[in-house]
């Protein structure tokens, strides 16, 4: 089996969970990967300080799409305060595959959008660890 393109990664890429628009929504952000032109946006609906619902939209490679799709399932119901504390290892561990330095930005694009939407700060760095 391929190290990177495992079955569940390709499954999330081809059938991404929680993708689309969410209207109305309380929070949103749009992130780009300047390296490859990928675009990933997020709409978030909030209730009682928690993520009640969330949708990603945009286009990108298998790694960025699968990473956002897998993360979306974990982010449902999460406290906003907790979202603000999530780090890169959280997203990469969740993805469960070895991520090279160049693909790290792809793997973190979804979380960067979510953190930007929740904290209002889009400066979370996704460069080499």
């Amino acid at each position: 089996m391929d190290d990177l393109y495992r079955d569940y990664i390709l499954d999330h890429y081809k059938r991404p969970r929680n993708f689309g628009e969410l209207d109305p929504h309380d929070m949103e952000a749009l992130e780009h990967n300047p390296l490859c032109g990928d675009e990933l946006g997020v709409h978030i609906r909030v209730k009682d300080g928690k993520i009640e619902d969330l949708r990603f939209h945009g286009h990108g490679c298998a790694i960025s799409q699968a990473s956002a799709s897998i993360a979306s399932e974990e982010l449902m119901g999460m406290e906003l305060e907790e979202v603000g504390k999530l780090n890169a290892d959280w997203a990469i561990d969740l993805l469960g595959i070895p991520v090279s330095a160049t693909r790290r930005k792809c793997a973190l694009l979804g979380l960067k959008a979510v953190k930007g939407a929740v904290t209002g700060d889009n400066s979370w760095p996704v460069g080499p660890a």
Binding site: C36, G37, D38, C61, A62
Partner: protein
């Protein structure tokens, strides 16, 4: 250097040549054009995971022949001294090496050394014009015209200039074939407000060869100035600037088999002579006192500080190498290879390429998409087969928006590529499709 005139046996002969039994003469002349110079490039002996390196990313940067590597090494080992300062023999040798490289580079494109300026890269060359010419000549009611197919390096400097001067930036459109329209250029020029037209010689995404001479003739007739970005043209086809009619022409060393860190700007004497310097400091002055300074003569007026001396020497060696191969042969070799690549890419399910469909109207690169597979993943998967291609927006985001795609994969050839490299690309793409279940 080996220039092989024998038939090179490949598993898939280029379509239209060996497949055509009635054209012996054509086959012979095509074979005579074919290059066999792979062994001149030491890096191509490398292997990755036991697979030979298949380098199809010359549009990003070219690999270097041993003659270039040796020239840089020899300069550093035997001739290193700063230029235009020392009176000792070593410094004189360094001067001769640096200005000798300029003479070679200028002669290579049919231009004068005095108006051939060494820069860091094409980006700096274009910025030089945008600052030193643009700030003095573009005003609030003026227009800078560029095209939708430009690299960011030929868009952003003009955006900044126009914003600063209150001028307008307009774009020539790219048609469905990936080409520009001379009629639209005429219409834009007829408005009478265009001061400068900046356009590429060969598109780094579409591969389109732009008809430079037809464009510059119209631009000059309209009283405007032309700037041509030759980054993707110079190492791939004969370029004679004395016939192209451009007022400024910029290109870069590292895509032309030379080192990184050196670019070239050719300009007309009368325009460069009127311009104020871009960067100021050492070497570009005639004299300095506490109240001011006067400027050195051309080209030194535009070369502030210690220049890239070893890089210039390396570029001089690269030019020697290309001259020895013959640029007509380089073009014929790459055109044939590009045609073969266009043919074979059509075997790949779901693949679509952008730009002109014929190799005749293209430089040596093909950008493509595959349905169900992002460009980044295409490049990752071809790399498993040792095949290096590029993926992304290729520093041409506005163009990608016009094309309605986020990213493409791009395979680009150089003098050292062979039909077997294209075969390896196709095999790697087919293997990649399997991984994705396509």
């Amino acid at each position: 250097m080996v220039v092989d005139t024998k038939n090179i046996h490949t598993p898939h002969p280029p379509t239209g040549l060996a497949d055509n039994p009635g054209s012996d003469r054509v086959v012979r002349s095509a074979d005579a054009q074919r290059l066999d110079v792979r062994s001149d490039f030491p890096i191509l002996a490398r292997e990755f995971d036991g697979l030979p390196l298949v380098y199809l990313d010359s549009g990003a940067t070219a690999q270097k022949p041993k003659t270039v590597i040796d020239a840089v090494s020899k300069y550093m080992s035997e001739r290193n001294a700063n230029v235009h300062r020392g009176v000792y023999a070593l410094a004189q040798e360094s001067d001769a090496a640096y200005d000798g490289a300029r003479k070679k580079v200028a002669a290579f494109v049919g231009w004068e050394p005095r108006t051939t300026i060494f820069t860091k890269n094409v980006t700096e060359a274009i910025n030089l014009v945008a600052y030193a010419w643009g700030r003095a000549n573009v005003g609030p009611s003026d227009v800078v015209l560029t095209t939708q197919m430009e690299h960011h390096a030929n868009i952003v400097p003009w955006q900044v200039l126009c914003k600063e001067r209150g001028a307008q930036l307009r774009y020539l459109e790219v048609d469905e074939r990936g080409e520009l329209s001379l009629e639209q250029l005429d219409q834009e020029l007829a408005k009478g407000d265009v001061k400068l037209v900046a356009f590429t010689h060969v598109s780094n995404v579409l591969g389109t060869i732009v008809p430079v001479a037809e464009m510059t003739a119209r631009i000059r007739a309209a009283g405007a100035i032309s700037l041509v970005d030759g980054a993707q043209a110079i190492p791939h086809m004969p370029v004679d600037l004395s016939k192209l009619g451009a007022d400024f022409y910029a290109w870069t060393g590292h895509k032309a088999l030379g080192p990184t860190g050196i670019g070239v700007l050719h300009g007309r004497t009368e325009i460069l002579g009127e311009m104020q310097p871009f960067l100021t400091g050492g070497d570009m002055i005639a004299s300095v006192d506490f109240d001011g300074a006067t400027w050195n003569e051309l080209p030194y007026k535009f070369e502030a500080g210690t220049p890239p001396i070893a890089e210039a020497v390396g570029l001089g060696a690269a030019v020697d190498y290309l001259v020895e191969l013959g640029m007509e042969r380089v073009r014929a070799h790459e055109r044939e290879l590009t045609g073969y690549m266009l043919d074979r890419l059509q075997e790949v399910p779901g693949l679509r390429f952008v730009g002109p469909p014929e190799a005749e109207n293209r430089g040596g690169l093909v950008s493509f998409t595959i349905k169900g597979m992002h460009a980044h993943d295409i490049a990752e998967l071809t790399s498993r087969g040792g095949v290096c291609i590029r993926a992304g927006h290729h520093c041409a985001q506005p163009l990608m928006r016009c094309l309605g795609i986020g990213a493409t994969a791009r395979a680009s050839v150089g003098v050292y590529n062979e039909a077997s490299d294209v075969d390896a690309l196709i095999d790697a793409l087919q293997a990649g499709l399997k991984v994705f279940g396509l």
